[in-house]
């Protein structure tokens, strides 16, 4: 078990707790918290503040019908929401995004594969499979990018990222992550840049020697 040394920044955890983080990033945060007790504690601390704010809100009377409706439903049978458990290297939230199935890898060239889990106008989140020693393709993040390592590790100018670690990259970080030797590196990467398939291909066709 590797020790997690790169965590989710506090303001991102707070936005997640409040439910105001784009879906793509929320999947990364929920996945990291599944693996990291330190961030689980920090998240629950934010929920404690949220609870205090909620409790301090001015009360507004609810209708009588509401309580009656509610109590009428208490004994009714119901189907619990499905619970997605960890499967191999994939944390529950990733398994949920995969709808319980195996990833459907698409080749990007040079042994790199991806599976786009979700994409909308607010961003996208994908699984990446990078063979040892291979560079992570450039994916043009205009804003924020969160990359969670699920297997293996990668290194770039800012350091080494092992299983469970999250790299937080903003647009001013020009980095070239390279998968370390050993196991292939599997990452969950979310970005708020629109999908730019074109940007992937040309960069992949030219091997990157720069580190």
């Amino acid at each position: 078990m590797t020790v997690i040394t790169h965590h989710i920044p506090d303001h991102i955890l707070a936005a997640y707790a409040a439910g105001n983080l784009p879906h793509a990033f929320a999947i990364v945060v929920a996945s990291h918290v599944s693996l990291c007790d330190e961030c689980r504690v920090a998240l629950e601390a934010h929920q404690t503040v949220g609870g205090a704010v909620m409790e301090g809100a001015d009360s507004v009377a609810v209708s009588n019908a509401l309580k009656d409706n509610l109590f009428a439903q208490l004994d009714e049978p119901f189907t619990p929401q499905p619970v997605f458990e960890r499967k191999g290297v994939y944390p529950g939230p990733v398994v949920e995004a995969l709808k319980g199935k195996e990833p459907r890898w698409k080749k990007l060239g040079m042994g790199v594969r991806q599976d786009i889990l979700a994409a909308n106008d607010q961003g996208s989140v994908r699984l990446l499979y990078i063979p040892p020693g291979q560079a992570v393709p450039d994916h043009g993040h205009n804003g924020l990018e969160l990359t969670l390592v699920l297997q293996g590790s990668f290194s770039d100018q800012t350091g080494r990222f092992g299983t469970g670690d999250v790299e937080v990259a903003t647009e001013d970080l020009d980095h070239t992550p390279i998968a370390d030797e050993g196991e292939p590196c599997i990452c969950l990467a979310a970005t708020d840049a629109p999908l730019r398939f074109n940007a992937w291909v040309p960069r992949l066709l030219q091997p990157i020697f720069r580190i």
Binding site: V49, G50, M54, D58, L70
Partner: protein, 210 residues
């Protein structure tokens, strides 16, 4: 009723010195778990509808007031409140008073339900940690967490209006991550130490089950 009003001696767990000192001071008084937590435990352990009714009367109007502030219609607010209260009843077994004060637990459910309903998408949530519900609560830990939460609430009250508004906006989900400042001026560290102890306790128990 559960016998939750107890005199207890300081726990023998290894605690940070500061926490130990605090606990000693606390244990000189009678330690009592809050009414809200007792209602929630009665719902969790005995499916007690009377306790659930009390819980409803306490939280539903607060929840509605809170949800109203996020700009939804009164009817939508009622729908959300009903859904949240139903989720509390149905997921009560997940409530762990050693890690979450009732309002914190409800807040998290409320945010999830509101997002699921408004955006018509399931919000990604972390893997849940199952708990042993037959367990008698560790009164010292539960009360200590409640006291830290109360201090947090008071600190919130004492903030200036501008800070208070920012925090309310942040936790109502009205600020983006870029807009959220982590300099809240709130004593988050002590709450975190308490939650960490609750989580360690749970991890220890889960280990014992295997």
């Amino acid at each position: 009723m559960l016998m939750l009003e107890l005199d207890i001696s300081p726990t023998k767990q290894a605690l940070p010195a500061a926490v130990k000192r605090k606990q000693k001071r606390v244990s000189e008084h009678k330690m009592e778990i809050s009414q809200q937590t007792r209602w929630m435990l009665a719902v969790r352990d005995r499916r007690d509808k009377k306790a659930f009714s009390e819980l409803f009367d306490f939280y539903a109007p607060r929840l509605k007031g809170f949800v109203n502030r996020s700009g939804v219609s009164s009817q939508q607010a009622e729908e959300i409140v009903q859904e949240v209260m139903l989720t509390i009843w149905r997921k009560a077994e997940m409530f762990d008073p050693h890690r979450a004060q009732v309002s914190a637990w409800i807040y998290q459910i409320a945010r999830n339900r509101q997002i699921d309903m408004m955006r018509k998408e399931n919000r990604p949530v972390p893997e849940e940690l199952s708990i042993e519900q037959s367990d008698e609560p560790d009164v010292g830990q539960v009360v200590a967490l409640e006291q830290e939460t109360e201090k947090l609430r008071q600190a919130l009250e004492n903030l200036n209006e501008e800070q208070k508004t920012m925090i309310e906006k942040a936790y109502l989900g009205e600020l983006t991550h870029q807009e959220i400042s982590t300099q809240t001026g709130l004593p988050m560290g002590t709450v975190k130490s308490r939650i960490r102890l609750g989580l360690e306790r749970l991890r220890h128990e889960l280990k014992g089950l295997r």
